[in-house]
């Protein structure tokens, strides 16, 4: 299915569902509007709630390649947009010299040909149609980059001085994620649809685990999801996200576990809790009482 054929948020939710991503009404509406309005989707939420996964699934569902721009401090235009392939340009120059080309201006023109241009993620996304562009962890890039990105996302055109303007035939579907380590500029947010992604409900989490890991028994998925929900209510440094629930279930499936008991949970706890303090807190004073409480009950 292409993006124009998606008629409603519910239809899009169904499409994502078929590609292994279960989303709720809000996220489905957000994605649907991002497609329809041609606006970037700005996603925030705790680590591990499925922000990046959504972009990947959108790509698969729409039959469009996913182009990912991982942001980091110091990211600049030549790493995000394009760069000239200098070694190849030099080679071309040498070859032309050896062949005895004397027309200097023509040679110069050839050096700045499209084939010597290395497309970095943003240019790739503009040139690939359709495509899904994931701008991951924008808050890690510095604010100069943010201003630059705003320009690209407003016009969906890129000007290469030596070549001219490159325009997207149709704008890519853009998903921007942020972990809120820094306030992203309001001007950029204004361009986007804003969605705050919550941890899923118990039922949805069970369904997500079952969907992603069909080998996991229904009972096991339920136990993991319940434990994860309770851990989120406990005061932890890093409450587990869906990503951690999936990791944990995968570890348990790999060990051939069908029923989660405190002993098994204790030895696999590192798959779901990544801080020593958190593990100690969950284990409780004598080592397993806390876990039994976490797993017990209906």
């Amino acid at each position: 299915m292409t993006m124009d054929q998606v008629g409603s948020p519910a239809e899009l939710a169904g499409l994502l569902d078929r590609h292994g991503y279960l989303c709720d009404e809000g996220l489905a509406t957000a994605c649907f509007l991002a497609l329809r309005m041609g606006r970037p989707l700005f996603l925030e939420g705790e680590a591990g709630v499925g922000k990046t996964e959504l972009a990947k699934t959108l790509g698969r569902a729409l039959g469009a390649p996913l182009i990912r721009l991982q942001c980091y401090e110091g990211l600049d235009a030549s790493q995000a947009l394009y760069d000239w392939d200098f070694p190849r340009q030099l080679l071309h120059l040498r070859a032309a010299e050896a062949a005895g080309v004397s027309d200097v201006s023509r040679l110069e023109g050839e050096l700045y040909d499209r084939r010597f241009l290395l497309a970095r993620p943003l240019l790739q996304a503009l040139e690939t149609s359709p495509s899904v562009l994931l701008v991951d962890e924008l808050d890690r890039a510095d604010d100069e980059f943010e201003a630059f990105l705003l320009e690209v996302l407003s016009d969906f055109t890129i000007t290469v001085p030596e070549l001219g303007t490159i325009r997207a035939e149709r704008p890519p579907v853009v998903v921007v994620t942020s972990n809120r380590t820094r306030e992203v500029h309001d001007a950029l947010k204004r361009r986007c649809l804003y969605h705050w992604l919550e941890h899923p409900s118990y039922d949805r989490e069970v369904a997500i685990i079952r969907r992603r890991l069909p080998d996991a028994a229904e009972r096991l998925a339920g136990q993991v999801a319940r434990a994860a929900q309770r851990m989120r209510e406990t005061d932890l440094l890093k409450p587990p996200g869906v990503a951690e629930s999936l990791d944990w279930t995968e570890a348990l499936v790999a060990l051939g576990v069908r029923d989660l008991d405190p002993g098994t949970a204790a030895v696999t706890l590192g798959a779901v809790l990544k801080y020593r303090e958190d593990q100690q807190r969950v284990l409780g004073g004598d080592g397993a009482a806390g876990l039994a409480a976490l797993l017990g009950g209906g």
Binding site: R140, D186, L193
Partner: protein
């Protein structure tokens, strides 16, 4: 779209804006466009069309929900808030061009110049209104930029690593003859500064001056400065203090702080700060300033634990306690005693001179004297 629908929706957006939401005209336009693609008669669709376009922050969501419930059930939410004890008064700033002044302003300037030295060491809690305004003006002029760190980015430099791109470009310009090597080196950037200002009752004589200091830091450090107020609740003031004008910034900040002159639960506040912002990266590698007297009503053990956590994340932790300047002060309160082992610099911040010292500490001068 139906005219009534547009009117209803614009009215709703106005309600959100009145409650402090980010519903500017561009966002309202986006909301109407979003509704074009959805079902206007379905409350869920209306809810999401507004939420996805009018909100910009997780803090906006609860307010949005309140406005939505109130507006579509026919009630109007009323914003009501206590007046905070912040000096919000227009302070005459010297015009750069010296226009509209004349005799009078020159006289004023002369008077100020002689007064500054006297004011510098006075405790801000014991100032009269005029002196207070003068100190506020001087705080606004402080340069409280942070110390610098090496950035991942490169800049052209006369020596350093080879810059392949610029060298080859140069070579191409010379027709393929490599004759000049270009170099580059890492740029430096200011570190992020995070200020946590205690606005509880015992700190109220100093809260105004310290928040003004935070504003001066925000102006010197641009987008790499984050400000929070702590008391019984943690409030992020970064956006409010972004106003250029100090008085407008103070007015916005004071309106945003819900817990003026309440108690102190610094341990819990700090924990909230670390959970929500610090651990994700806000405190990582930053210079963190905590301005508080350490009169902890809550659990001092928790405060110590959180300070240890903060110290592991931050590049440097500076604690400014206005009471430190009092003769015979000893950090004997449980909170202060629990926090001190995890502090790099311990300073006072009670007067203009002390704030200048704080600015120097933030800039990385005279590091690590807490235990000297």
């Amino acid at each position: 779209m139906d005219r009534d629908v547009i009117e209803t929706m614009v009215g709703f957006a106005r309600t959100v804006r009145a409650a402090g939401g980010a519903a500017d005209p561009e966002r309202v336009q986006a909301m109407l466009t979003a509704l074009d693609h959805l079902d206007v008669l379905d409350p869920h669709d209306v809810y999401w069309a507004g939420r996805l376009t009018l909100c910009a922050d997780p803090d906006d969501l609860a307010r949005y929900d309140r406005c939505f419930a109130a507006y579509f059930s026919g009630e109007t939410p009323r914003p009501g808030r206590r007046r905070p004890p912040v000096v919000v008064r227009r302070i005459p700033m010297a015009e750069p061009g010296g226009r509209g002044g004349g005799e009078e302003s020159r006289e004023l300037e002369a008077a100020t110049a002689s007064g500054v030295e006297v004011l510098r060491d006075r405790d801000v809690a014991r100032l009269g209104a005029a002196e207070r305004a003068e100190v506020a003006r001087l705080i606004a002029l402080l340069d409280a930029g942070a110390e610098r760190r090496r950035s991942r980015r490169f800049a052209p430099a006369p020596t350093g690593r080879l810059d392949p791109a610029r060298t080859v470009r140069e070579t191409l310009r010379r027709g393929g003859e490599t004759s000049l090597l270009r170099h580059r080196s890492h740029r430096t950037r200011p570190r992020r500064v995070v200020l946590v200002v205690d606005v509880s009752g015992s700190m109220s004589p100093y809260a105004d001056a310290l928040l003004r200091f935070a504003h001066a830091a925000a102006r010197s450090g641009g987008r790499d400065v984050e400000v929070f107020s702590a008391g019984t609740r943690l409030t992020r003031l970064t956006r409010e203090l972004r106003h250029r004008d100090p008085d407008a910034a103070m007015a916005a900040a004071s309106a945003a702080i819900p817990d003026w002159s309440g108690g102190t639960r610094l341990g819990e506040e700090l924990k909230e700060f670390l959970d929500r912002f610090g651990q994700r990266g806000l405190a990582r590698g930053a210079v963190v300033v905590i301005a508080s007297d350490g009169w902890e009503r809550g659990d001092a053990g928790l405060l110590g634990e959180q300070m240890a956590r903060l110290h592991r994340l931050a590049h440097r932790v500076v604690w400014a306690n206005p009471h430190k300047a009092r003769p015979g002060y000893e950090p004997l309160t449980a909170g202060m005693a629990a926090a001190l082992p995890h502090v790099d610099d311990f300073t006072s911040g009670h007067s203009l001179a002390a704030l200048e010292e704080l600015a120097r500490l933030v800039a990385g001068a005279g590091k690590g004297r807490a235990h000297a």
